[in-house]
């Protein structure tokens, strides 16, 4: 089975490549990404919201020069939305167009051809001529039946269509499944995947990420920002700020031309990183105070 054209030779290669497209992978991230390209096994990525699970798939796709096929999961997602569907309108038109003169057999053979098949993400990923990166986002939102259906796709990379027979993968996609851990996934699914737990990055790592996405922000402000984010995450919030939100905040501070993060700037821009009424009170109280005290001393 052909793999992607720029096949990475080592873990360092993958890390370098992801870095080049604007994603700073942690140690284990690079390792698992490398394994995914080598072994062709799906990767299950879990972690809190906003640590860059989806972003990883995008970065991997652009690094490998592959197309990204995305399947966003939700409650009640079914095969018709994920695999394929018959384009029945077109089928009807076809039948009407040849209404007279053709026998039933001919029409029947005709209308169940690939021409009338609407490929949905999974089908697209498998049937694609060029290898792709398939992202199955928030798999924990679907029900268990759907997971069971995925098993066939993920282990053998093939789909059975009763009218057409089996569609086998022409190329081997790299599959990433993400989950926010809102429910336990089935053992069978986990068994087939490599596992990657993404957590909030360490201070230095996040600083690098912020600097990468907002390079104009001064070193000191960026460091301060990351420290404050760390403080906020340490609190017990309904929704702790994600990496995306720290980047947003960095950009906001840049626009405002902030020189330093003091108590006032913080209170004004806090809404960028904290998005719950009750959380805001907690954060304003705890972090706002901490920011104020050194300023008063100075």
């Amino acid at each position: 089975m052909p793999t992607s054209s720029p096949s990475p030779a080592s873990i360092a290669d993958v890390a370098e490549g992801l870095r080049a497209v604007g994603y700073l992978p942690g140690e284990s991230t690079a390792l698992v990404a490398y394994l995914a390209t080598k072994l062709g096994k799906p990767v299950l990525v879990e972690g809190p919201a906003g640590v860059g699970k989806t972003e990883l798939a995008k970065a991997l796709a652009s690094y490998l020069g592959r197309e990204l096929v995305r399947l966003q999961c939700y409650e009640g997602l079914d095969e018709a939305k994920a695999l394929y569907e018959w384009n029945y309108r077109k089928q009807l038109l076809r039948i009407q167009a040849e209404a007279s003169g053709t026998g039933w057999d001919a029409v029947q053979d005709d209308i169940f051809g690939e021409e009338f098949l609407l490929a949905r993400p999974l089908m697209t990923a498998i049937a694609s001529e060029l290898p792709v990166v398939l992202l199955i986002d928030e798999i924990d939102k679907t029900d268990q039946e759907f997971e069971a259906m995925l098993l066939e796709v993920l282990s053998d990379f093939q789909i059975s269509i009763p009218e057409l027979g089996r569609v086998e993968a022409r190329t081997h996609p790299i599959v990433l499944l993400t989950s926010n851990n809102s429910r336990e996934l089935t053992e069978a699914l986990k068994r087939r995947c490599l596992y990657l737990w993404l957590d909030y990055p360490s201070l230095e790592h996040e600083l690098e990420i912020v600097r990468l996405h907002a390079p104009e922000l001064s070193e000191t402000v960026a460091r301060r920002l990351v420290e404050v984010i760390g403080m906020v995450r340490a609190l017990d919030l309904k929704k702790p700020p994600s990496i995306a939100e720290s980047i947003d905040w960095a950009r906001a501070l840049l626009l405002l031309g902030a020189e330093d993060i003091d108590a006032d700037t913080f209170t004004e821009t806090m809404s960028v990183i904290v998005k719950h009424r009750t959380d805001m009170d907690v954060v304003a109280e705890r972090v706002g105070l901490k920011l104020r005290s050194p300023a008063d001393v100075a």
Partner: protein
């Protein structure tokens, strides 16, 4: 299998042995996972410890909890393997002798250094200091031979505590209390050094101990659990909401909708061929929660209140009561206040829990509860009691509780004590257990168990 048997097989043997240990700790490691692990090792530079560990973790540990257990087992397993090899080849550490005599003053210096290393979170310094500490204490007094006991004794002797110690001089880093995770980390290092010296002394490995329940659990403060509790309760709501659907399949009782049947019969000349049934409305769960806030459950009451708080966030039709000696409804407070802190303050302050003796009086609580809600209780309601069932010698009045349970559709009891302590002393949970389903519940994991049990009504009784 003794270690000698596998040493001949080299790395593959060790990996299999490691997989065996993981299974022993309850991680589902199948043959396919092990095959994957070998496949992975073929692709990476497994001489690098970091890559080796991550590569194995990616294939063998498939959830956050598994990952945590994996780390512990990994450390233990490979530590033991290295020590065994060292013992067999007669490798000894030489530099212990000069630490032999440690005066009281030097001990003070050691204390300060350790505290400073903990405050800075410097792993290397902590490791060296742990080694020095063990060496020092080994000379000063005989170890008890039980590693856990020794670790605690050394920690106490060094005066390392997470709580602030205001009586110490201002420059002492211990004054403001030490970071909890650093303390835990240091204890782990102490434990490891103790194990190492024990192996050195005896020249053999002690039998491996399984991981304790406490090691396994994710470290978290009571308040950090709040988010986890909210998550579990959100699950609870979803399950309660969808459960009706499951139950409906088994119920054959249905009401005929006469009007719609007549209307349908017009098509068949007035003969009601097709019966139309009244649609079954999905039932809205009505929940009554009784929460013990007396002193005997102080440690658990933060957890309970957070459960209560999370329940209120998710359920509309819910009434909550707190009780000590008497009962007091706090539904309003939860509806008005959204922040958990404000809620707990108001409950502690002016919720008016009539508390004269500070001792729970379950009998009185039941009868008061029954008078207050008797008319509202119906088979659709669910009663959940959060309490330790310790009556302080008073009459449990299980008969009144039985009346409540009979009126309500379902009754659950969540007990914050480990099952081991049930029915010891003044705990009378057995008397109540006849009428309700009781769960041990003091961690979010157990709360999840409770939620899971709720979804499978058939198995509830079996637990």
């Amino acid at each position: 299998m003794s270690p000698e048997d596998v040493s001949a097989e080299g790395l593959p043997g060790r990996i299999l042995e490691f997989g065996e240990e993981l299974r022993g700790e309850g991680i589902a490691v199948g043959t396919s996972e092990l095959l994957d692990a070998f496949e992975v090792l073929g692709e990476i530079n497994w001489v690098s410890e970091e890559d080796f560990r991550e590569g194995l973790a990616a294939t063998l540990a498939k959830s956050q909890e598994d990952r945590r257990v994996f780390e512990l087992v990994f450390d233990r397993f490979f530590f033991r393997a290295v020590e065994l090899a060292a013992a067999r080849h007669g490798v000894q550490e030489e530099d212990r002798a000069f630490l032999a005599e440690l005066s009281e003053r030097e001990l003070d210096a050691l204390r300060a250094q350790i505290a400073a290393a903990m405050r800075d979170g410097s792993e290397g310094a902590m490791r060296d200091l742990a080694r020095m500490t063990i060496a020092a204490f080994a000379r000063r007094q005989e170890g008890s031979g039980v590693i856990g006991v020794d670790v605690q004794r050394i920690r106490r002797a060094l005066g390392l505590r997470a709580e602030p110690q205001p009586e110490l001089p201002a420059e002492d880093p211990r004054r403001d209390g030490l970071p909890r995770d650093a303390l835990r980390r240091f204890e782990a290092l102490l434990r490891r050094e103790l194990e190492r010296s024990q192996i050195e002394r005896t020249g053999n490995l002690p039998p491996a101990r399984p991981l304790g329940e406490l090691d396994r659990a994710l470290p978290s403060g009571p308040l950090a659990d709040l988010a986890a509790v909210h998550r579990v309760v959100a699950q609870l709501r979803r399950r309660l909401a969808t459960q009706g659907l499951q139950a409906r399949g088994h119920r054959h009782r249905a009401h005929v909708d006469v009007r719609r049947t007549m209307r349908a019969s017009l098509q068949t000349g007035g003969v009601p061929v097709v019966l139309k049934f009244r649609p079954r409305r999905p039932r809205r769960p009505e929940i009554y929660v009784l929460c013990d806030v007396s002193t005997s459950v102080t440690s658990a009451s933060v957890f309970f209140l957070s459960v209560l708080h999370a329940l209120h966030d998710t359920f509309r039709k819910m009434r909550s009561f707190v009780f000590i000696e008497r009962i007091s409804e706090v539904t309003d407070i939860f509806e008005k206040e959204r922040s958990f802190k404000a809620v707990s303050e108001r409950i502690a302050g002016d919720a008016g829990v009539a508390d004269i003796s500070g001792y729970t009086d379950y009998g009185r609580v039941w009868s008061e509860f029954l008078t207050q809600v008797e008319d509202d209780l119906n088979p659709r309601s669910t009663v959940i009691v959060l309490g330790d069932a310790r009556t302080n010698g008073r009459d449990p009045r299980a008969d009144v509780f039985a009346q409540i349970a009979a009126r309500a559709g379902r009754t659950f009891w969540l007990n914050p004590e480990p099952r081991l302590y049930w029915n010891y002393g003044d705990s009378v949970i057995a008397a109540y257990e006849e009428y309700c389903t009781a769960f041990e519940c003091w961690t979010t994991a157990q709360l999840e168990d409770f939620v899971r049990a709720l979804t499978r009504p058939a198995i509830v009784g079996a637990r």
